[in-house]
């Protein structure tokens, strides 16, 4: 048996993958809806991550976020000042809340990392130190898996754990890859071809294979996965760096505004009201702490959302690029159409009836376990009410199973021989039996071919001799909801291109039915590559999926290349994401997650900056209403006292971080819609909301604080 999904395009496929690579998402996620988001947030995670948050207080960790580093310095300064005048409760409280602001920011990141850690722990279990059976000449020696070198040959038999990443060079085996994919059905790995890659940590279930090690211990796929989900390998993405620069420059602007405020205040006679503690509090309130605190959590959570969908992004850069993708290359089979062709129609030749054809087709397909064969039985049942018969029911029947060589299946029963299969095979069989081929069988078959379908012939040999009964029309069935999906993508400004090995006629028919924007027929890997380069030359970002070694150059060229986990190691190496479910439809979700990540970043930045307006209205009157009583008119929130006003602003500033942690982790709600509508909606929620929310929040905190005796 050969395993090659590419050959599914053949009229009669021999392919029965141990685990259909192109099934729909096993996570129960309905592709037709395609909303990203969800992922529940458990408040207990906050408590669990608290120790990590404190561990991150070191200056070397903190300096990575310039905004929070300033807050850390502010916390230290206020603490020192509070120690110098221990009787001043205000200094202590401000210092405490500034420390909390820093801790909350670290907490956000720790929680985000914590979610990946659970996955990493599972992976580590798979990585238990294995003993490898290394081949030295003809003999075997047992060495620890960690001592393997690239190029070593190792033997694995049933129940052995594969000691490292490599390619099968000899034999075939079924392998349990559940440790990585979470999918329990075993897959077949064999030497040569596109299914030769094996991953360290997975388990051989049957047979014996010889593996050539291709990766050094410590750098294996599973090691990289652990690093990725834990966030250890996380690097700042280009957009994140750019955003950090802007946040840093805003921080400098506010630093200037606050530092120069001191001489202004001395001139105004408000020296006492603008103590170092108050100015530090003002600075911390003004600098964009909300986005500064949540920025890295947003990035980690974005990667994490991919992990939850069983997609591993090798870099955050790829996730970001996914949001910018404007051309999607989608493989027809498995993505746009169901993995296999399905029987759609029974067409009788002259002199026979449709039910006759259906009966013969069903009978001859009972021994065909391919999806095509099963679809014939299903169609006979649905359209002609023919109950599915079982092989055991027919006494004395001799079953002829489908093979790639004969490309036919059938049964000999009651002196009657029934066959169905590829046109050429069936015609040859009829002629062999001394029958003649009806002319209209040929024309019907041609007609079906031209319409993009695949004809199968049904023939019988009985007392009336061998003859063709009719034709089965096999058709690619476009998945439900795909047309709507592509419509959504179009509204988002994303062009979809269907890639298929079919002839242009067939491709066109399916492309029209599915509603894709364009198609590439009879596609070779070179064609794909050329298409990607053409799109990129026009400034577009391209995403694609692939699994074969010959896909590798295109995967590397694409801005977002998603390799199927069932694919070769070359493909996995070339892509910047790996889909553990090997489900090409997921490309659409990946794009949505990328967009959601960027939107979340933008929304929280806008929110954070809009927040400052209210904080000024709290703090400026508190500082200067003594020097200039007219400035008390700016106290539009009617805050109780200068101390409570400043304190409320600082507390709000700290608490809003915690309040927004779930949003940062979950991502803002994303729906495919035009850029205009999306901007209007998000500006309304996060811009306007960011302007108004702190007025309410600060006022409420002030009301609570002013109840404490001695403050209000």
């Amino acid at each position: 048996m050969t395993i090659n999904t590419k050959k599914q395009e053949d009229p009669m496929s021999t392919v029965t993958p141990t685990r259909a690579p192109h099934q729909d998402v096993p996570t129960g996620h309905k592709p037709a809806e395609g909303r990203v988001g969800a992922g529940l947030f458990d408040p207990r995670q906050l408590v669990k991550s608290l120790p990590d948050a404190f561990r991150k207080l070191g200056p070397r960790v903190m300096v990575k976020s310039p905004v929070m580093f300033v807050v850390l310095i502010g916390s230290v300064v206020t603490t020192v000042l509070a120690i110098k005048t221990p009787g001043d409760w205000f200094g202590w409280v401000i210092a405490a809340w500034l420390w909390l602001t820093v801790v909350f920011a670290n907490l956000a990141e720790a929680v985000a990392e914590g979610r990946g850690r659970a996955q990493a722990d599972t992976l580590r279990k798979a990585k238990t130190d294995t003993v490898a059976r290394r081949l030295v000449g003809d003999s075997e020696e047992r060495v620890p898996g960690t001592e393997l070198k690239v190029g070593d040959l190792v033997v694995c038999e049933a129940d052995d754990t594969i000691p490292g990443d490599g390619d099968v060079v000899e034999g075939v085996a079924s392998v349990d890859e559940s440790a990585i994919t979470g999918e329990s059905a075993p897959v077949i790995r064999e030497s040569g071809g596109d299914r030769s890659a094996v991953t360290g940590g997975t388990k051989v279930l049957s047979d014996r294979i010889v593996i050539k090690i291709t990766t050094k211990p410590g750098e294996t796929f599973i090691d990289r996965m652990i690093n990725l989900v834990e966030g250890a390998a996380r690097q700042k993405t280009p957009n994140e760096i750019a955003l950090n620069i802007l946040l840093a420059s805003l921080t400098i602007v506010f630093l200037l505004a606050v530092v120069t405020l001191k001489p202004f205040a001395i001139y105004a006679g408000a020296d006492k009201q603008t103590s170092m503690i108050v100015l530090t509090a003002l600075l911390v309130c003004l600098i964009p702490t909300t986005i500064g605190a949540l920025l890295s959590a947003i990035g980690i959570a974005g990667m994490d959302r991919l992990v939850q969908r069983n997609v591993l992004a090798m870099s955050g850069r790829a996730v970001e690029a996914a949001g910018d993708v404007s051309t999607l290359l989608l493989d027809k089979t498995g993505t746009i159409t169901l993995g296999n062709r399905q029987a759609a129609e029974f067409v009788p030749v002259r002199g026979t009836t449709e039910p006759e054809v259906a009966d013969a087709a069903q009978l001859s397909s009972l021994a065909d376990e391919t999806p095509e064969g099963r679809s014939i039985v299903v169609l006979a049942k649905e359209k002609h009410g023919l109950r599915e018969r079982h092989q055991g029911e027919l006494v004395g029947a001799e079953w002829i199973a489908f093979t790639a060589q004969t490309r036919m299946s059938g049964v000999d029963v009651d002196g009657r021989k029934v066959r169905k299969g590829a046109a050429g095979s069936v015609i040859a069989w009829v002629q062999e039996q001394g029958g003649t081929v009806a002319e209209d069988a040929d024309t019907t078959a041609n007609r079906i071919s031209e319409a993009g379908g695949t004809p199968l012939l049904v023939a019988v040999e009985d007392d009336r001799g061998a003859r063709i009964l009719g034709v089965i029309h096999l058709k690619d069935v476009v998945k439900e909801g795909m047309r709507e999906r592509f419509e959504e993508l179009r509204r988002m400004g994303i062009k979809t291109v269907m890639i298929t090995g079919d002839n242009p006629l067939t491709a066109k028919a399916i492309a029209e039915e599915a509603g894709v924007d364009d198609f590439l027929a009879e596609a070779t890997p070179e064609d794909k590559m050329a298409l990607i380069k053409r799109e990129q030359a026009g400034g577009k970002l391209v995403a694609m999926t692939g699994d074969g070694t010959n896909d590798a150059p295109a995967l590397a060229q694409a801005d977002v290349g998603v390799a199927m986990n069932t694919g070769t190691s070359a493909a996995k190496e070339a892509g910047n994401m790996v889909d553990l479910d090997s489900n090409p439809t997921k490309l659409i979700e990946i794009v949505e997650i990328g967009k959601q990540l960027l939107i979340t970043r933008g929304a929280l930045t806008t929110f954070s900056i809009a927040n400052d307006v209210a904080k000024y209205f709290a703090i400026i009157p508190a500082m200067f209403a003594v020097a200039y009583p007219s400035l008390d008119k700016l106290n539009i929130m009617g805050l109780a006292s200068p101390e409570s006003a400043i304190l409320s602003a600082v507390i709000f500033n700290a608490l809003i971080i915690i309040v927004l942690v779930p949003l940062a982790l979950r991502g803002v709600q994303y729906r495919p819609m035009s850029a205009d509508r999306m901007l209007r909606r998000n500006l309304g929620i996060y811009g306007l909301g960011g302007l108004i929310a702190p007025f309410i929040g600060i006022k409420l905190i002030d009301l609570l604080i002013s109840l404490i005796p001695g403050i209000g």
Partner: protein, 554 residues
């Protein structure tokens, strides 16, 4: 006709005239900066200075051109003032002191025209016409050239070339500024402004006092003073002097001249990037801010509750009777928001809150509509910041006009927006902290603070108008304000040109339905919001301690 109705008609006429002119002027400017042909006079100029106008320059070369030309200009202007007594037509004036000469040289070369001197009693005919008036043309043309270079950065792809500085400079002078100035000067003369090279007249007034009447080539300088958003008046009283601004019509004409190029350049921008709608989004943002400020200042000036002002029908202190509240307010807002700095009334005497609006107008970075050229590039930088902040919210990494706003772009834009706030805040703080600064102040309290803040805001943003009220002609102020003017003009240009180079090198990203639409009203609103919030947050404490403390006390 009630004064309010008259004001409404005045503003309507002004907006109508600008609307009428922006299109032909904008298209004309786009054409001349895209043309490959040279006029004969231009060829003669290129030959005489030894410049090749046909080589394309990358951003460092373009910047070297700007800086070298400006440095030579400063040096020339400085020397001219120092030796003016030895030159003809000196009117008997002494050489200008070194610190004041430095201040004035930088001031005119940086298109600021902050004046710590009184023109009619300090500057000779030669200094005025061969020095100051020349700079009025060339400094304005430098501003437009830099803006055009940035526009080319957006318009061009896969090249680092930004055009030729010398060609852009000369074309701006020869084909835009001189022709319009000539027409405007003739109209001004017809309307009563003076134009001569005579001697000082001494007359005896009705009360028997002697008064010196200064002569000069006023109308010609007046035209370019406003057209080039320079602002340096021939007379100390600037456009409130009847020789510079004889009446209501010239007042309207001068306001029109202030605004016409800044409000037409977005059309040029739209034309050059191949989408005039993009230009309209920019001009709409400029127009909205300018109009809101006009309404606010006019309303505050009329509404002042004091007894004297109720009798006068509004706050009239420091304003000319022949203009009145509305036209004075309109002039004040237009001059502060165009980085011009010419005045027809005394901003120091405006109500506290109006003074705050005028200050804020400059603090925005002179972008609504801003100085000639500098207004457009300043606004485009703010558009980049706005795109970056909110552009993410459509789910794509930020892009503007088909160019990615990546790390390098945002770094340069961030540096740009840091400069003037830093100069304003640090300058004001130093002046208040040092005795040198405090001693020069003649007012105390919030108003005194506003005066110092206004001086540094005006200098750093290259406006040049003054709140007066303190003696600016001291070594301390001449030097610090001079530095603010130089840094506030040329540092931003460094970042603008670097940005232009970086944009021009990119390959364009095609528009899709997922692209942020920057030509729609929503984006204009976003841009206005981003400008107001970013500037407001930077200067809120300073404004609170000056104009707000003063204005809210009323």
């Amino acid at each position: 006709m009630s004064p309010v109705l008259a004001d409404v008609l005045l503003v309507t006429a002004l907006i109508g005239a600008l609307a009428l002119v922006h299109r032909p002027l904008g298209d004309y400017m786009a054409a001349i900066y895209s043309s490959k042909k040279h006029l004969r006079v231009e060829k003669w100029i290129y030959r005489s200075v030894g410049a090749n106008p046909d080589t394309e320059m990358r951003w460092p070369a373009y910047l070297r051109g700007v800086l070298a030309f400006s440095a030579v200009s400063v040096l020339f202007l400085y020397l001219l003032q120092r030796v003016q007594d030895k030159l003809p037509l000196s009117l008997g004036f002494k050489p200008i002191t070194p610190d004041q000469a430095f201040n004035t040289a930088v001031s005119f070369v940086s298109n600021t025209n902050w004046q710590s001197y009184s023109g009619e009693v300090a500057m000779s005919h030669v200094t005025q016409t061969a020095g100051l008036a020349v700079q009025n043309f060339v400094s304005a043309a430098v501003g437009i050239a830099v803006a055009v270079a940035l526009v080319r950065g957006f318009a061009r792809s896969r090249t680092g070339d930004l055009g030729n500085f010398w060609a852009d400079l000369v074309r701006g002078i020869v084909r835009i500024l001189i022709p319009i100035s000539v027409v405007a000067a003739v109209i001004l003369i017809a309307a009563g402004a003076i134009q001569n090279f005579g001697d000082i007249h001494t007359i005896t007034t009705l009360t028997g006092d002697k008064q010196a009447i200064s002569p000069g080539a006023v109308a010609s300088q007046e035209a370019i003073k406003d057209l080039g958003t320079n602002g340096g008046g021939f007379f100390n009283a600037n456009s409130s002097h009847p020789f510079e601004n004889p009446g209501g019509f010239t007042n309207l004409l001068e306001i029109f001249l202030l605004l016409v190029i800044p409000f037409s350049l977005p059309r040029t921008f739209g034309k050059m990037v191949g989408n005039v709608k993009q230009g309209y989004a920019i001009v709409a943002a400029m127009g909205i801010i300018w109009f809101l400020a006009v309404v606010a200042v006019t309303w505050i000036e009329y509404a002042h509750p004091g007894i004297a002002s109720q009798i006068a029908g509004g706050s009239m202190e420091g304003k000319e009777q022949r203009f009145g509240e509305g036209p004075s307010s309109l002039f004040a807002v237009s001059t502060t928001m165009t980085s011009t700095g010419s005045v027809n009334s005394f901003h120091d005497s405006f109500q506290g809150l109006s003074g705050g609006v005028l200050l804020l107008g400059m603090m925005l970075g002179e972008i609504a509509p801003g100085g000639v050229g500098s207004g457009l590039y300043g606004m485009l930088i703010m558009a980049i910041i706005a795109v970056f902040l909110a552009g993410l919210m459509v789910g794509r990494t930020p892009e503007y006009l088909g160019k990615k706003i990546g790390t390098r772009e945002i770094k340069l834009a961030a540096c740009y927006i840091l400069i003037t706030p830093a100069l304003v805040l640090i300058g004001t703080a130093v002046a208040l902290a040092l005795p040198d600064g405090k001693d020069a102040m003649t007012n105390i309290g919030a108003h005194g603070f506003s005066e110092v803040l206004y001086a540094y805001t005006s200098a750093s943003n290259n406006n040049g108008s003054a709140f007066a009220g303190f003696g600016a002609n001291t070594e301390f102020f001449n030097t610090t304000l001079g530095l603010c003017m130089a840094l506030g003009r040329f540092l931003p240009m460094v970042f603008v040109l670097a940005l232009a180079g970086s944009l021009a090198e990119q390959k364009p990203i095609p528009d899709t339905a997922g692209t942020l639409r920057t030509e729609k009203p929503l984006f204009t609103g976003l841009l206005v919001g981003a400008i107001m919030i970013v500037t407001g947050l930077t200067f809120f404490p300073a404004l609170a301690l000056g104009p707000l403390a003063e204005g809210l006390a009323a």
